[in-house]
């Protein structure tokens, strides 16, 4: 299991369109992905879950990836969240 805290750099945070991109990436990853903000944890593959976190620009979130491709998975997620 790999776990990392990252800052979301996208200017719109993770609302509909970026949230959909995030979920599409998570669906390509075989491992289980979880995203946490302020103690609330949601499944990375759930668009409603991701949107319900209401993640804004510069929010701090914790990503957990667990499974066979966790190393590549967490790297790809960090790259996406780091995009401005």
């Amino acid at each position: 299991m790999l776990k990392e805290t990252v800052i979301v750099k996208g200017k719109d945070g993770l609302h509909a369109r970026p949230a959909a991109e995030f979920v599409q990436l998570c669906k390509k990853i075989k491992s289980e992905v979880r995203l946490e903000k302020n103690g609330t944890v949601v499944q990375g593959k759930s668009i409603i879950g991701i949107m319900s976190l209401g993640i804004a620009h510069n929010d701090e979130v914790t990503v957990t990836v667990e499974g066979e491709d966790e190393a590549e998975g967490i790297k790809a997620i960090k790259e996406l969240l780091d995009k401005e």
Partner: protein
């Protein structure tokens, strides 16, 4: 006749959340929806200014910007209703919500009202997509009714 033995929530009907012309999701002028990135479904060109619940369910999400609502139906289907195109940019102006996340709602209950004149003045189309965001995970078959006949816009059936 043996409906007694059937699981009662296998099939969920979604009714029009607002009167208006129904189009397929692929015809929406926003690629986030037309490419089904958010899920498959339909869209309505609203003729009224209140969005009603399309089924019994639970409110999962109302964003701060009040331009959308997500519901969970009793069979686990997640339904996202997004009022207008690019309306997130209005930052909540022009929208009034009547429910909160966690509320239980009945079909036909008011969810969100909107100020048509304001939204149109801001140059945002009112096209309202209604999509199922978890059809793959829950193995839900979606039967759409893209016509002006009847009040049912989608039939959601869990694959068995």
């Amino acid at each position: 006749m043996f409906s007694f033995f059937k699981k009662k929530d296998d099939v969920i009907m979604l009714y029009k959340p607002v009167a208006g012309k129904v189009i397929d999701i692929s015809d929406v002028q926003d690629d986030m929806f037309s490419t089904r990135m958010m899920g498959d479904g339909v869209a309505i060109e609203p003729e009224k200014d209140v969005i009603l619940s399309p089924c019994d369910g639970k409110v999962l999400l109302i964003p701060k910007t009040l331009h959308a609502v997500a519901l969970e139906a009793s069979n686990g289907a997640e339904i996202l209703i997004h009022i207008g195109i690019d309306t997130v940019e209005l930052k909540g102006e022009g929208f009034t919500s009547h429910v909160h996340a966690g509320d239980t709602v009945k079909r036909g209950e008011q969810l969100i009202s909107f100020d048509r004149a304001y939204i149109e003045r801001e140059g945002k189309p009112l096209t309202t997509p209604i999509v199922i965001t978890n059809a793959d995970e829950k193995e839900i078959d979606i039967k759409k009714n893209i016509s002006d006949n009847g009040d049912v816009i989608m039939e959601l059936r869990i694959r068995s």
